[in-house]
């Protein structure tokens, strides 16, 4: 079966320039899933979502159905949409937000119906100016169309949706930090327990936080049925997933592929997908699931794109970002760039993350600049151990949220896979790939 044979679940409308408009959405079967859902009982909708094993598409891969089932019964509860996609080289939700906002809105209303929640918040990354504009317009148009608001499609069910822009903090993608931010506070992740906002969330009320892509699957699940969705993929990893492919490939971009049935090799090399590495260069390493994920080498390129399969191999599908590094890549510089990102985006709450990220960044930069010491490798690993004891996978934490324990992933991967390259920097007193821009 060719890698492109699977149906396109969340990207079916992208061929149209006006895919974001209500007219186009309605002309392509829009809001039919919602009508079907409203004809069912909320429990039946929840049951379908639970049955299809819709794994969260935000990063942790927690099953949406189970998350929903944990929602504490209370007079007031909320649905929050996490549209704060900010991980480096992750841009799949960005596409859905800008190009198919009605699909998201429809998914939100279906979820609200299933959960019997009457207020939803769509939290959109502050930098997504166009996305914010389009989601706002879509929500307004959906109100006009009767798909949001009072008595949706005459069903008696009502939902209000509030669109809220973030203010440019990566940490606000962490669901409890996002909730704090929504409440108007500084985006500090909350201490756990309580482990899930489903018990105590927004304004202290039970809250479900779902990712944009996760919810965008719901209209299709409703119109095509749970069985059609479950037929795709394998094991727990059902349906399709969006992958943001970046780095040294001929055709970087967002691809929707069937889970498990597709491999990293397909994604990187298939002519209709990544199209291979440019200039005939060799694959050196790739990051399978965003900046927080441990790296893979060429020997793992045949792994299937399945959550459990990648997990068992020591990394994660994470945020759906695959970054390809060819043999011209300096891994020290790559690790430094990723660490610098985490340093700049650490909320500063916990000591290990706040101080450790900056220290690690300084050491990596020192090595890249040619002034590192051989002992720095052990130092990097030891500081990493203070952020994620054992520096193993899945990581242990010394911090409130997983940002801190994510920092060592790239550093430990780079050192374990390319120790000699680090030592070469130290021995030569310079980067073997030539001084690069520090920007």
């Amino acid at each position: 079966m060719a890698v492109t044979d699977a149906p396109r679940i969340v990207t079916s409308r992208l061929e149209y320039d006006d895919s974001h408009t209500l007219e186009r959405y309605l002309a392509t079967g829009g809001y039919e899933g919602l009508r079907k859902a409203l004809a069912m009982t909320p429990e039946a909708v929840s049951h379908d979502v639970d049955a299809v094993s819709l794994l969260g598409r935000g990063g942790a891969g927690f099953p949406a159905g189970r998350k929903w089932s944990m929602l504490r019964k209370a007079p007031t509860s909320y649905l929050v949409v996490n549209g704060d996609e900010s991980e480096p080289a992750t841009f799949k939700d960005h596409l859905l937000i800008e190009r198919d906002p009605h699909q998201l809105v429809e998914g939100v209303v279906i979820a609200c119906y299933a959960l019997q929640v009457t207020t939803a918040f769509i939290y959109i990354r502050g930098e997504f100016a166009l996305g914010l504009e389009r989601v706002t317009a879509a929500v307004n148009d959906a109100y006009g169309h009767g798909a949001v608001g009072r008595d949706i499609f005459g069903s008696g069910f009502s939902v209000d949706i509030v669109v809220h822009p973030g203010a440019g903090a990566y940490i606000c993608g962490e669901e409890t930090a996002l909730i704090e931010s929504l409440e108007g506070k500084r985006g500090f992740p909350r201490i756990k327990p309580p482990y899930f906002p489903a018990a105590i969330g927004l304004y202290g009320e039970p809250t479900v936080v779902n990712n944009v892509e996760t919810l965008s699957n719901l209209p299709w699940v409703m119109t095509h049925g749970a069985a059609a969705f479950s037929a795709l993929g394998e094991g727990r990893s059902t349906g399709t997933r969006l992958f943001a492919l970046a780095g040294h490939v001929r055709r970087p971009g967002v691809y929707e592929v069937e889970m498990v049935k597709t491999t990293f090799r397909d994604l990187i090399y298939a002519p209709v997908l990544g199209g291979g590495l440019p200039g005939g260069r060799e694959l050196k390493a790739f990051i399978p699931g965003g900046a927080s994920a441990p790296w893979f080498g060429p020997d793992q390129v045949d792994l299937p794109l399945g959550q459990d399969e990648v997990g068992a191999a020591g990394s994660m599908l994470g945020s759906g970002s695959v970054v390809v590094m060819d043999d011209s890549t300096c891994v020290v510089r790559a690790a430094w760039r990723i660490t610098r990102f985490f340093w700049r985006e650490s909320c500063g709450q916990c000591t290990p993350c706040r101080e450790g990220s900056g220290w690690l960044e300084k050491i990596l930069r020192r090595i890249e600049d040619g002034t590192g010491l051989e002992s720095d490798l052990d130092l990097l690993m030891d500081i990493s151990d203070n952020l994620a004891p054992g520096v193993s996978w899945p990581p242990q934490q010394t911090t409130i949220c997983v940002l801190g324990s994510s920092i060592p992933s790239s550093i430990a991967s780079a050192i374990r896979m390319f120790r000699d390259e680090f030592l070469l920097h130290v021995k030569d007193g310079a980067c073997p790939f030539g001084a690069g821009p520090h920007g």
Binding site: E355, W359, P389
Partner: protein, 934 residues
Amino acid sequence: MADPVVTSHHAIAPHTAAGATVEITVDGRAVTAGAGEFLIAAAERAGTFIPRFCYHPRMKPVGMCRMCLVEVSGPRGATLQPACYVAVADGMEVVTTSDKVKKAQDGVLELLLVNHPLDCPVCDKGGECPLQDQVLAYGPGESRFLEEKRHWAKPIAISELVLLDRERCIQCGRCVRFANEVAGEAQIDFLGRGDLVEVNVFGGEAFSSYFSGNTVQICPVGALTASPYRFTARPWDLDQVESTCTLCAFGCRAAVQSSANRITRLLGMDSDPVNQSWLCDKGRFASEAVNAGTRLTEPLIRRNGVLETASWGEALALVAGRLSEVRTEKGAGAIGMIGGARLSNEDAYAWAKWAKGVVGTDSVDAQIGDGLPAEVVVSLPRATIDEACAARCLVTLAGDLREELPVLFLRLRGAAVDHDLAVVELTPQSGSLTRYTAASVAYRPGEAATVVRALAAGGPCPATVDPSVWAAAAAALGRAGDGGEGVVVIIGRPSLAEDGALVADAAAAMAEAWPSARFLPALRRGNVMGAIDMGLAPGLLPGRVSLDDGRAWFEEQWGAVPEARGRDAAGILDGLADGTMAALVMVGADPLSDFPDRTLAAGGIEAADFVVAVDGFLSSSAAQADVVLPSSMSYERSGTTTNIEGRVTRLSQKLVAPGQCWPDWMIASDLAARLGGDLAVASVTEIWDEIERVAVSHTGISRSVLDAPAARDGIVAPLAAAPVSLSRRLSPEPFDPMATPGIESVEIQGAPPRAGTAEPPTGEEPITAAGGAGLGAAHSGAAQSGPAQSGAAVRPRPLRWPQPVAVPAVPATDSYSLRLVAGRRLYDGGVLVGACASLTPLVAPAVVRAHAHDLEKLGVGDGDHVRLRSGRGDIVVAVAEDGSLPRGVASIDFNLSAAGATGNGSTAAGAGEGGVSALIDARQAVVDVRMETP
């Protein structure tokens, strides 16, 4: 209405079933912990100190510093968990000394020092620094950090009192949390990200909280320092005693530290029923007044119109001689005494015995026209502070508590935010507590009792009150029982321009409507409650008994008591002015600044034949005296003090008073002898023994009871019955080594983990007042134990409610006048603030606030000046619009200066000159003023 700022999902301690316990293991030892208790607290009570920075037992945990990581067993094996917010669970196994824990502790401390400047030799915190101590005890010993550290401009003044050094900051968030969570003023917060996170104020805004000093005290490093203490001492050179702050009547316990006979600083002690470790900035920093160079150090005698230094012998002889003359010529009733609220209980008792037992005058008043009728205060059924915080419905009829009794405000705010305390506020103007109330019922000065009667009767909403507010107030009161069970009323003086008898009338209405209600007096002046208890009020004798009830008893104890009820402060000043009285003794009193009616105060002092001032400072009033006697002040005397709930706590002497200052009791004793009497006391402890013997409200509170370790929080008088049950303390000791000051705590937090050395929780610790070994003298016992003395007189009973309240008539206002409200500010023109260089810049000028409607009629707005004219005088002040005030009301805070005073006949210079006291007429129930363009 819940506080919109604080919606944290975490409580200070998780909800626990009362008394339920769980069994856990800490380092192999079996430990019993309270169900739901935080691990850090449970381990500590069991004797295992887990190092920490951000944890504070009085604030919600945040788990930010990660210093308290310990290994906790769980479904996935032992993992590192923060002990500060993980609750204990049955069977939990905790390891605090494993290699993994040690590695985490090493790691956190090394990381904390990565950007820390290590400028300990020049840092005020050096020597008492939790970072220093814990690095020594738990840290790795050396750093592997080679790069340049983070730099910030330093220090920056974030207020007049607090300086911030961001390089030293370890981002524990204690200050941020205190400001937001405890004080409700989020004026200091985190900015930035990563290791560039800083604590700071918001652009250009000052850290103006009245509680800012607490952030300095709880800062675990030298990031926040207080300008008055900065660079004045090293912690190891300080000596300290535990005492009580007497700046207001709330009675905060404090560690008083000194060096070279100068107060260096005050640190709040954790007294669970009172201040729970916090202090207000006035209490904390006004202590420097005792160091002031302007203190009186020698007696002064007026010669040819000028005060000149004199010997004690000369001065006392002159005072005794002149008072004798007055007594001979006009009778003892011609001598009046004002003041006493700045004294200890023992000093107050000595003066009361002097005035009522020796001189023979009952015209004695510790309240300076700014309080409530003393009979009402002592007879209303009293609530404790804890009872107020736990009330089913709290009613306040008082001034702005943040201005008057700041830490009471903190307690009530905390109860409203965290424990759903329903507050119904009755006030002529909104204040700091308003946003935390269930209903804030506005009344026009003079109409409080009318509103109360309507509210208590479930009557219709008065026309002046918003119906939704009225309904909310009724709903809040509905939480209480029909007889007022669970109602606590805080009564104070909402306005000094409204007769205190009107408040008493409203209190009487509440006591009648809710017979089970209890009352907490919000009298603010130092030891005013103790002074009243000791009889420094007209018509009262020590022990809260009336002159008539106590006559036989005290004639037996003292030899004599006055024939008839005397006058209060207003009456004394009136009597002096009209010549029916002739001599005035001012004991730590400054009526020119503090009496609401400055014209009357000035007229009375001016007209008096003889005025003697006993004071620490030459106040504006003392400067008018014929003789000035220098007395000891707070921290220079030992004894006891009494707070608003009647709690008696120990005052400890830390300093030797400067120059020739005498303690008040000694002055009274000497003057008694010169007047042919004998106070028959030779020391402070003897006085307390006598108080315990003769003052029936204090029976059983012997020195040995007060000295018992379990009585560190004091004893509430009167004792209900023997044996005495003392309140249980939070833990064996109130334990936050960074909040609980003292050398001892430094040793504790610097020590390596200890095992099994601490005592188990003490719980209720009964003290037997009668018959207990070594506790109380033989005569001790409950008040009802009857006459135990050799004499014939029966011990009187303390006054009981109801007491008659003389209610003055309130005139109708005319549509051209504004009814005056005079509230209070924490930093005012009083003599103590004036003696503190660090506080005087915080005193605001007087402004008149009024509703825009009333300002528009005159065509004036913010910043314009107006002339206010009453029947008493007129002043010119700036205007500020205040939409929270009802129409027809003008509000000016008391004892603040403004330009252009021309009070009728006032010639004395004083701090409050030109302020609202020039407008107030003490003979009027309310004050109406006209506003004019100047």
